[in-house]
């Protein structure tokens, strides 16, 4: 190392120790000035020799103890206690400068605080950066066969975990420190790697409980385009969509949701499974809600929404838009309002098994009644739909009919069902119902509307930009008390969040031209 450089570093040490009162350890020095750890120790020694007072020195003693049997021992001692500590060791012990600082801290943790912060910084660097912490290049001992990619997991994931781990706050950091530091005293050479190794298992453990948050992290960097795969919590999704910002960063909702995930640790495992769909659905729903408002200019572009246009045969050319937010069969309970379409996309049999069918049926028959002007009597409805079954070549119609006859396509069955249906709208329990209307382009739009809240539900549906899906999902929970628990659980977790956020989201829609700070500033 050039002499001048050494002088510069020594001056820096001087100012760090005396002005900023920082603990300068050889480890910190090595990483900060990118010198090897032995050089860093030498520098510190030089510093100690040059400046005799104004600071305190912590020495690292290592060697065999005089005790019997001899034990290899490493010890940190302050300068004043050095002679007596030396007594314990054999003559051949090594004395190195561990750190210099303005005064010996009361709390030993302060000794490694600076270097821990530094290590944290290095951890936070993007995975592609091969920094000195990752490759341990300044270590006195090196083994070219040792790969320092933590646990073989993709680095980006681990780094994001680390990040969230680190974000947990100082307490947890300190916890890690206390584990890592004694270790590092023992394998002085390996300190950085051992730290990494030590951190990572605990991180890995945390991954499960925090998978929500970390996934968010991982996902946040993805372009918001691929909505199907996103496991972002519904809220975040919405915020992003609501603002229409294309910034790749997550929204602050990420933080809220993570915070809540932490405070409610009971749900995380499920969340990661259950949230994705509603999330995707709600974003879709938002899109389609907007489209409802905009007059359906581009139905076909809508993600995840099966938009089927079925000609109704004679005369009345009407289109029907249906929302499908159940991609997976396992969510059929949760999202069975959309089940007519699920049937379309998949097997109608799955639906038949579902207990929750009455509502979809009801919605469908409402649908038929209102829009297609079917005769009002039950039998006629059934006939009508049977006719549809026979006559209509369209898949949609078929499926609609199938939904109407969920178990068997018999008139009796249907009549029963229709009775239920008739009863349903009158019952005061039903707060939300499916409404069908015809938009300005002659298509039928099915929406879920809160009847309890509004006296004129269709109107509300029109003026409201709230997501149809929200309503759908919540109604899945509200409408069907007998529905499977799963449905209500889902309704309570993600979708309830979703509805809670609708207000915000509206504001977000309003502010579609509002810039986002994240497009100006980067996260540290």
């Amino acid at each position: 190392m050039a002499q001048i450089e050494t002088l510069g570093i020594l001056q820096d040490i001087q100012s760090l120790v005396s002005d900023q009162l920082q603990v300068v350890s050889y480890k910190w020095l090595s990483r900060n000035y990118l010198v090897s750890s032995s050089t860093a120790m030498r520098l510190l020694k030089e510093f100690v020799e040059k400046h005799e007072n104004g600071f305190e020195v912590v020495y690292l003693l290592s060697g065999w103890l005089k005790s019997n049997p001899p034990i290899y021992h490493r010890k940190l001692v302050s300068g004043s206690k050095l002679p007596e500590a030396k007594q314990e060791f054999n003559e051949s012990c090594s004395v190195q400068v561990y750190s210099v600082q303005a005064c010996i801290p009361k709390d030993p943790a302060v000794l490694w605080n600076a270097e821990f912060l530094q290590a944290e910084e290095l951890f936070k660097q993007p995975s592609t950066v091969d920094n000195c912490l990752r490759d341990n290049r300044f270590c006195g001992i090196s083994n070219s066969f040792v790969k320092r990619n933590v646990e073989g997991t993709p680095l980006d994931i681990s780094s994001s975990h680390l990040k969230s781990e680190v974000n947990l706050g100082l307490k947890s950091n300190l916890a890690h420190q206390s584990i890592t530091v004694p270790q590092s005293l023992q394998n002085k050479g390996q300190q950085s790697s051992s730290k990494a190794d030590l951190l990572s298992p605990s991180v890995a453990k945390d991954v499960k409980s925090e998978s929500n948050g970390s996934e968010v992290h991982a996902q946040a960097s993805k372009p918001p385009g691929d909505k199907k795969n996103t496991s972002l919590p519904a809220e975040e999704k919405k915020v992003q969509n609501g603002k229409g910002s294309s910034s790749t960063g997550g929204s602050l909702a990420t933080f809220w949701s993570r915070a809540s995930a932490k405070s409610k640790p009971s749900c995380p495992a499920e969340n990661s499974n259950l949230i994705p769909n509603p999330a995707g659905a709600s974003s879709d729903a938002q899109i389609c809600a907007q489209e409802v408002v905009e007059g359906f200019s581009s139905d076909d572009d809508v993600h995840d929404i099966n938009v089927k246009r079925a000609s109704n045969g004679e005369g009345t050319r009407k289109r029907r838009v249906v929302f499908d937010f159940s991609d997976d069969d396992e969510y059929e309970d949760a999202v069975n309002l959309a089940s007519p379409e699920t049937v379309e996309g998949k097997s109608g049999r799955a639906l038949k098994e579902s207990i929750n069918i009455p509502v979809p049926e009801k919605s469908n028959s409402n649908f038929d009644k209102q829009v297609e002007d079917k005769p009002k009597t039950k039998e006629e409805i059934s006939i009508g739909s049977e006719q549809l079954l026979k006559e209509d070549s369209s898949v949609l119609r078929n499926d609609g009919a199938m939904a109407i006859f969920p178990t068997e396509k018999k008139n009796k069955q249907l009549n029963k069902e229709d009775k239920q249906i008739k009863a349903a709208p009158d019952s005061p329990k039903r707060k939300k119902i499916l409404k069908t209307r015809i938009d300005e382009r002659g298509r039928e739009v099915t929406e879920v509307v809160c009847e309890g809240q509004e006296t004129a539900p269709p109107k509300k549906a029109e003026c409201d930009t709230t997501k149809v899906d929200n309503n759908l999902v919540t109604s899945a929970a509200v409408n069907r008390p007998p529905a499977a628990k799963k449905a209500s659980a889902v309704g309570n977790t993600a979708p309830s969040n979703a509805t809670g956020k609708t207000g915000n989201k509206k504001a977000g829609n309003k502010d579609s031209k509002q810039g986002n700070l994240l497009s100006f500033f980067k996260r540290v």
Binding site: D107, N167, A259, S263, S519, F521, V524
Partner: protein, 265 residues
Amino acid sequence: MLELRLVQGSLLKKVLEAIKDLVNDANFDCSATGFSLQAMDSSHVALVALLLRSEGFEHYRCDRNLSMGMNLNNMSKMLKCAGNDDIITIKADDGSDTVTFMFESPTQDKIADFEMKLMDIDSEHLGIPEAEYHAIVRMPSSEFARICKDLSSIGDTVVISVTKEGVKFSTRGDIGTANIVCRQNTTVDKPEEATVIDMNEPVSLTFALRYMNSFTKATPLSNTVTISLSSELPVVVEYKIAEMGYVRFYLAPKIEEDEDDAKPQ
């Protein structure tokens, strides 16, 4: 161990009033240099950065960097229990999940302890680069607050345009439009009443008045406000806290594409 003794306790109360509407929960970061906070509002549009330097405290002890997550509404509730002349001491132990606010009356005959639970908040700091702003306007904070309040009754957004002549705040709404021009005015008796414009190039940006209005909650902290604008950057609205630090609000501009932006929906 953390112990911060602030003789002018009302200052902390004002700070909380200034930021609690914008941010619900935030981490207060304590280090040897001072007591700071950085947080974004929930929609990521605005950011508040607070710094209270250690020199401003009568007694400042922070053994190690400490980040305390607090619900600002709750904190504000507690601070409201402090008298305006009270001396406020913030205390926290390492590893503790509570923070204690101690209020001493000036005559020392009443001492109140309030312990508040801390929260675990994941927040990420944004790196805010030092930037040269195209225009920096310093004006009386009350004047700025008045303008924001007045304009928000007309429209939703404000266009702030700085030229050599002065700074223009304009808005438009359903009922009409409004323009307020403040000319540079350095010839006043009191320096805090001056309007000073330091402009390198003209700049015009649109902002949501809603946020501006919440920034003006910090008006009691300072007689003057500094508004720094650059066409490619969020505006910075800074209220200096005498001898201690500052509260800075950053607000992302609205992207001007068409005119119906200014109309309320």
